[in-house]
Subunit: 335 residues, 2 copies
Amino acid sequence: MANPVLVEALRGGVVESRHRGAVAVVDADGGQVVAIGDVERPVFPRSAVKAIQALPLVESGTADAYHFGNREIALASASHAGEWAHVELVQAMLARAGLDEPALECGAHWPTNHETTVALARSGAVPTQLHNNCSGKHAGFLCTCVHNGIDHHGYIGHGHAFQEMVREALETVTGAAHSVDACGTDGCSIPTYAVPLKNLAHGFARMASGTGLSSARAAAARRIFAACTAEPFYVAGTGRADTVMMEAGGGRLFTKGGAEGVFCAAILELGLGIALKCDDGAGRAAEVMVAAVLRDLLPEDDPLRTALAAMAQPALKNWRGIEVGSLRPAGALAG
Amino acid sequence: MANPVLVEALRGGVVESRHRGAVAVVDADGGQVVAIGDVERPVFPRSAVKAIQALPLVESGTADAYHFGNREIALASASHAGEWAHVELVQAMLARAGLDEPALECGAHWPTNHETTVALARSGAVPTQLHNNCSGKHAGFLCTCVHNGIDHHGYIGHGHAFQEMVREALETVTGAAHSVDACGTDGCSIPTYAVPLKNLAHGFARMASGTGLSSARAAAARRIFAACTAEPFYVAGTGRADTVMMEAGGGRLFTKGGAEGVFCAAILELGLGIALKCDDGAGRAAEVMVAAVLRDLLPEDDPLRTALAAMAQPALKNWRGIEVGSLRPAGALAG
C-alpha cells in the first residue's frame, strides 16, 4: 500500500512532481492523534533525534560542569550550517574538555551555508571537521566522554560505551527496540536505528511533556527543548527551516529535520509529538509537511497558523528570480 | 493509480527511501516497447530535450556559418557544470555572433561543479551568466537569432519568434501539442511544455533514426547526436551522469537528464527512444532508472550492460568516505 501524496510541486499551474509520505502525531500518553500512511514501518530518524541524543550530555552533569548555556546545548542538538558562529562555538565547547578538532570523528565537509563556503574559499581555507553539520553534536558527545571518564577514541562506533548511553536514551524515550538488525551508519559515522514513526512521535511527546520519563530525564529534556527554542540559529542556521519555524514559534514549537526527508517536532503546550518521513527522502517536501501538520494541530484562531501556512507553500524561483511555481501540501495536508 | 517504486535507497541493509516513476521506450515507428507506470501523463521535460531545442541552430545553417564543431554543438545541447572549458567555449560561441555575456538572459548561478565554485571564489570572482548550466544552449539560441536576422532581445520569452522555432521543432519531433495551457517557465527562463513521456520517447527515437523527419531535420538530428556522443564532457561535465554514460557508450548511447528527475535517451543502433520521470523529481533516482533501462534494452552478452549495471547501483558514502548504503533499481527495473 503506497503512502499518500502529501506535497505537490507546481510549475505554471501544472503539477510537476509529487512527494508521498507518512505522518504520526502522538500525545504524551501514547494516544494516536494523527496517522497518515504507514506509521508502523521503521524509518531511520537520522538527525531528527539529536535532541534525544543530547540527553546524556545534560543528564550526566556534563553540561553543568562545563557551564554550557542555551547556545551550547542547542548546538549539541543541531544540524548546523557551518556558519562562523557555529564553528567557533563548537571549538569553544571542545576546548572546555581540553580537546580540539582532531578529536572529532565526524569527517569534514564544506559548510551547507553557501555564503560561508564562498567566504571560506575566498580566505584560502578548506573546511575542517568543525564545519561538519553534526560537529556540535559530536562536541557534546566528546565532552560527555571526557567528563565521565569514558575513553573518547572511537566514540562514534556501535558498541562503544558512549553510544550505548545514547542507544539507551533513544530506546527509553521512544519505547522502540534499537536493534543491531535495524542499525545503519549515519552521515557523521554514528549508528542510526530504524524505528516506527509512531514511536518517534511518542518520544517527542515525552520529551515535550516529561510524561513517562524519570524526573531527571524529564528535566534534561525540558532543558534541551528550552535551549533549542531559545537559540534556534544554533540548531540550524540562517534562513533554514528549523530556525525559521522555531523563531516563528516563540518557544511553543520544537522542530528538527533529518536527512532523507525526516522531521520530528513537538507542540510544547499541547504535549504533542510529531514524526514524519517523505518516502523519497526530499527535504523540501518534509519541510512543507511539517509546517502543514503543525498548522493543522493549532487552534483556528491562532496567529501562528498563518506563519506556518506560508511556510507550507513556498514559492519556487528561477535563476533570474522569476517565480515559476510553488510547493503545496496535498491530500490529507491540503488544509 | 500510483506509479511503481523503481529505485530504492538502502542504508545498512534497510530500505531508507523509495522513488517511484514512469518509463516509456518507443521505437522509430512509434511502437511501444516498454511502458512502466503512467506514460500518458504530461511531464515537463526541462533540460532533457535540449538536443531537440538545438535543431534550429543546425537546420538554419548557423552552426555551419559560425564553424561550430562537435564541442560547440554539444555545448548548445548541454546542462554543463560551469567548468572553465565550458565557460570559455560559451564565450567564444557568443563572440562569433558579435555578442558577449550581457546578451544572455538565463541568469547567473555558481557552477554546479564544486571544485570550480571553490576556485572561482578563491580567485575573488563571482559567477556570471556564462556559468549558468544552460548558457551553452542560450549561446546557440543567440547565434541562431543573429545569423537569421531575428532581434535577439527577449529571445527567452514565450511567443518570441525564436521560441516559436523551438516550439515547432519540439512539436514536430515529439508529435505532441505544445500548448500554452501546459507551458511553464524553466530555470533558465525559457518556456517548457508538459507532454506525455511516450511522445518524448518517440521524439528521441526519431532523433536517433531520422524516421518521420524531413531529410534536413534528420541530418541535423544526426549531427547533434554525433556531436554529443563525441564530446560528452561538453554535454555535462566531470563525473556527471550524462558524460559518464555517453563515454561508456562509445557513440552508441545518447542520454540527457533534466531537472526534476527527467531523463531522455536513445540507443542509436536500435533506433529506440527512452523517456522517464521520477515522480518526486530526484535526479539521483532518475540516473539509476535510465542506466537500468538502457542495460535491459541491450543484448545479454553486450559488455556495455556491465558498465550500465554498475551505474544503476551506485554506492552511497558518508563524510568519512565510509560506504553506508547504495541505490538500486527495484520492481520492473530490478533486473
